[in-house]
């Protein structure tokens, strides 16, 4: 089982420190939920791990090997908040370039793929496209998956459909997931980390989320 270790991440914008000495780790076989208020740096942290955002300082490594760009050699895959599939190309062809050949049968059995395999991105609704893009990332070749707001823009039924898929995927991959729908994160995660005041705090129970000011407690 490989372990992704993220340490000493520092990030600041215009002199304002967003992340300070952030530590996070994730082992294949677990889902780590990352919670935090708007603007606390959750997405920035995921982009730093993926290698698409520069940090003041960072250490990202897998089993002790330093990783400069997480996406090189398919080590880490990342679901951004925005749509990422190119237009004008059939979904099945696009998916083949990212989905792990070992997971292809499992992926093609998904109803969302079967309904839309022959379509292009502009022919799908926003929710369908989001769900499909999430599934492509979850079934990618990468050992570690970063999901940035996968439950946003989809219906509760769609969210319920792919929570088991995330859990099944976590049997062979490490997943770091963040979303404002904290109840979905609590349900799908093995452990939860709160990003607050630029540092990460391990969360053991819901009361701690209230104590740290993430939940109102009402």
């Amino acid at each position: 089982m490989k372990t992704l270790k993220v340490d000493s991440v520092e990030l600041e914008f215009d002199g304002r420190k967003i992340l300070q000495s952030v530590y996070l780790n994730c082992t294949q076989g677990e889902v780590v939920g990352l919670l935090g208020r708007n603007g606390c740096g959750k997405s920035s942290l995921l982009k730093i791990i993926f290698g698409t955002q520069a940090a003041g300082h960072k250490y990202v490594g897998i089993d002790g090997e330093y990783i400069g760009k997480g996406y090189h050699n398919n080590r880490i895959a990342y679901l951004p908040q925005h749509n990422y599939l190119p237009g004008g190309i059939v979904i099945e062809k696009l998916a083949k370039q990212i989905v792990d050949p070992l997971s292809w049968n499992e992926f093609t059995a998904l109803p969302i793929f079967q309904r839309n395999a022959g379509k292009k991105t502009h022919e799908l609704s926003g929710g369908e496209l989001r769900q499909l893009e999430t599934m492509i990332i979850i079934h990618s070749r990468a050992d570690f998956i970063l999901l940035d707001e996968p439950f946003t823009h989809i219906s509760p039924i769609q969210a319920d459909e792919f929570k088991p898929v995330i859990r099944a995927c976590a049997k062979r991959k490490g997943i770091i997931i963040t979303d404002h729908q904290y109840y979905n994160i609590l349900e799908v995660s093995d452990r939860v980390v709160l990003l607050s005041d630029g540092v990460t705090k391990a969360i053991d129970d819901r009361e701690e989320l209230i104590r740290y000011g993430y939940l109102s407690g009402k």
């Binding site: 996406y71 398919n74 599939l85 190119p86 696009l94 083949k96 370039q97 990212i98």
Partner: protein
Amino acid sequence: MADIRKLIWYFYKPIFIWNAAFTLVCLGFISFYGPKVAGLVFFFKLIGFASTTYLQSYTAKNVYMYYRNAGYSIRRMYAYVYGIDLALYFALLTIYLRLK
């Protein structure tokens, strides 16, 4: 790993016409003013690449994540695509000069 030939085509497809237009304009200049302007015209071709990169970073930056998730950096994708485009340009230029 992903099939790099297919990824290159997906990356090249939306910018092919824009770059082909620059190629044809360059060849038009050379046919009108003669091979002596080839160096200057090549600079114009490079401006075409710069404008493509600028327009893509404005209009299609979101899809960069697709190629990264396939395991390739955007710099590498541009290097492949512009390399192929330049090869096409020089091939067409060679054919034109030989036929002339």
